[in-house]
């Protein structure tokens, strides 16, 4: 009858490839798939919203410059991390991140709650020359961010792409109304794709993140992004063990 031989797989690269992929997928599926069904995976919590157009461009720059290679954005539920960085990260806090920036390398500190910890001025000086703020720092300099104008011509397309993968940016009146209901009118306005450019410029002007109102620089976007990290959830509204029940 059917006589299985190792030799078939070992001598046939194509078959070997397919068999390997099947074996790995099983491992992945067993670990990942249940998380989509377990109801506690993503915590129920108020305040988490998608990034504004400016923050979203800042995040693109964060990814482009490879900041994630040295910085994680995932505070684990350990005592030393709680003392240094604050409340542990919730899954809900990165539900609109595509892809998330949890990272696994910490040459520098975790950035999940760096928002509002420093002033805009500090971030700007630190990104231009980290050693000028923290003398022993090994973080590289990013002086061009301050002098490079932000390219936001394609911001609507970028937000549309995120909308495709499920981030609730709105294109239609119906989606906009849904966002007003979910996030309130102020936030909903920043998520409306037809107004994306206008909103991006307005936020850069009023926030004046890079200390120079005359243009919208990449620094404006990156600092706007850093300043919102970890600030969306107001933990003072919850008991300090609120999120234990989601595990």
């Amino acid at each position: 009858m059917f006589n299985f031989k190792h030799e078939w797989i070992e001598k046939n690269v194509g078959l070997m490839l397919i068999a390997t992929m099947i074996a790995i997928s099983i491992g992945g599926l067993v670990e990942i798939a249940p998380l989509f069904f377990i109801k506690e995976t993503v915590e129920k919590v108020d305040g988490v919203r998608p990034y504004t157009p400016l923050e979203s461009r800042g995040r693109d720059i964060y990814v482009r410059e490879g900041c994630y290679l040295c910085h994680s954005q995932m505070i684990r539920p350990f005592r030393d991390e709680a003392l240094r960085y604050g409340h542990y990260s919730l899954a809900a806090e990165s539900k609109y991140d595509h892809p998330f920036q949890w990272g696994s390398k910490r040459t520098g500190p975790d950035l999940a709650r760096v928002g509002n910890k420093y002033s805009n001025d500090w971030h700007v000086q630190h990104l231009i020359d980290p050693k000028s703020m923290v003398p022993p720092s090994v973080m590289p300099r990013y002086p061009w961010l301050q002098t490079t104008a932000l390219d936001y011509s394609d911001i609507a397309e970028r937000l549309k792409a995120l909308r495709q993968v499920g981030v609730p940016y709105s294109l239609t009146q119906g989606e906009y109304d849904r966002n007003v209901k979910d996030f309130g009118a102020d936030v909903a306005a920043t998520l409306h794709i037809p107004d994306a450019q206008k909103n991006l410029i307005a936020q850069a002007q009023s926030g004046n993140f890079d200390g120079d109102r005359s243009n919208v620089s990449e620094m404006d976007a990156l600092v706007a992004y850093l300043q919102v990290l970890g600030t969306m959830v107001d933990f003072s509204k919850y008991d300090n063990d609120e999120f234990v029940k989601f595990r």
Binding site: K39, R76, F78, Y88, K117, D121, W122, M133, D241, R247
Partner: protein, 305 residues
């Protein structure tokens, strides 16, 4: 290869390139036993800890963690890292409680008299300061001219008493001075810069100082409104003392010529100041930590009564 092993062990039976074969030795028994022990251990783990998904939930295991939350309620949960963290924090808080209770209970002026408490504050304060304050105020608290206030001298923008320092840390500060380049012309700015330089004994042109004096105390520029008639500033609004040799924004000591010193002052007056942002820490640090830091900062060298 002169000596070939005799063909006593089994091979897998595969033959490549005519004579390449693969031995099929049995695994060493110590290894096999180890393997089965780990399999057995996984069974025990499944029973103790959260393990298998079941529908919309999962098997939680029979191990539990008991902790006390911030409302003082004792709670119990199946074992998980978040509950375990609560328990760890409880235990740590318990160990530090005697000290923190003492920090909270002891009035500021008594703390310095208690050597044990002082040494606790110095070591705990240094750790909190390094994580949160040093990136701006630098590791010794000496600050940075042009950006961040010096905390080691006795020149305070907002006041150097324990209470004022505590307020600075908890609520944050934001110094604001308007830009004068649109209100005043170049000559007026120049005169003012000479006048301000003269206040702290820097070299300045006497005629310009006189004109600047009039501007400073007149209503067109109204510097006196914030910096006081004396030029010593008002701590209620954090306006700098202009009569001492300590500068935060205008880098006067860093300049090598008198003209450049005047220019540094002129630039500050022309452009105004909005960058002086000290974040509020009451959302990040708890009241005991803030009180502890106030004592630590007060003790860096410049604290006043």
């Amino acid at each position: 290869m002169s000596q070939q092993k005799p063909q006593t062990v089994q091979t897998t039976g595969h033959v490549w390139d005519e004579d390449l074969q693969e031995y099929n030795n049995p695994l060493p028994s110590w290894w096999l036993i180890g393997f089965y022990v780990t399999v057995l251990m996984s069974l025990i783990y499944w029973m103790i800890y959260p393990a298998w998904p079941v529908g919309k939930h999962f098997t939680t295991g029979f191990s539990t963690v008991t902790y006390i939350n911030d409302k003082g309620a004792e709670k119990s949960s199946h074992w998980n890292t978040r509950a375990q963290l609560m328990k760890d924090m409880n235990e740590a808080a318990l160990a530090q409680k005697p000290y923190f209770d003492k920090v909270t209970a002891t009035p500021f002026e008594q703390i310095a008299k208690d050597p044990e408490l002082t040494s606790f504050i110095n070591s705990a304060g240094k750790a909190i300061f390094s994580d949160n304050c040093a990136p701006c105020h630098q590791s010794g608290g000496q600050g940075k001219v042009g950006h961040f206030a010096n905390l080691t001298d006795d020149d305070w923008l907002y006041g150097g008493t324990h209470e004022k320092i505590q307020e600075s840390i908890a609520k944050g500060r934001h110094g604001y001075m308007p830009a004068f380049k649109e209100v005043l012309n170049k000559e007026q700015l120049d005169n003012l810069a000479h006048y301000v330089a003269s206040l702290s004994g820097e070299k300045a042109d006497a005629a310009k100082v006189k004109a600047g004096d009039a501007l400073f105390h007149g209503d067109a520029a109204a510097c006196y409104y914030c910096h006081d008639n004396s030029g010593k500033g008002r701590q209620a609004m954090g306006s700098a003392n202009l009569t001492d040799k300590i500068w935060l924004w205008a880098d006067v000591p860093g300049q090598d010529s008198d003209e450049k010193k005047i220019e540094a002052i002129r630039l500050v007056i022309a452009n105004g100041l909005t960058r002086g942002v000290m974040p509020a820490w009451e959302t990040r640090l708890n009241p005991e930590q803030i009180k502890l830091l106030s004592v630590y900062v007060h003790g860096l060298g410049g604290g006043t009564k």
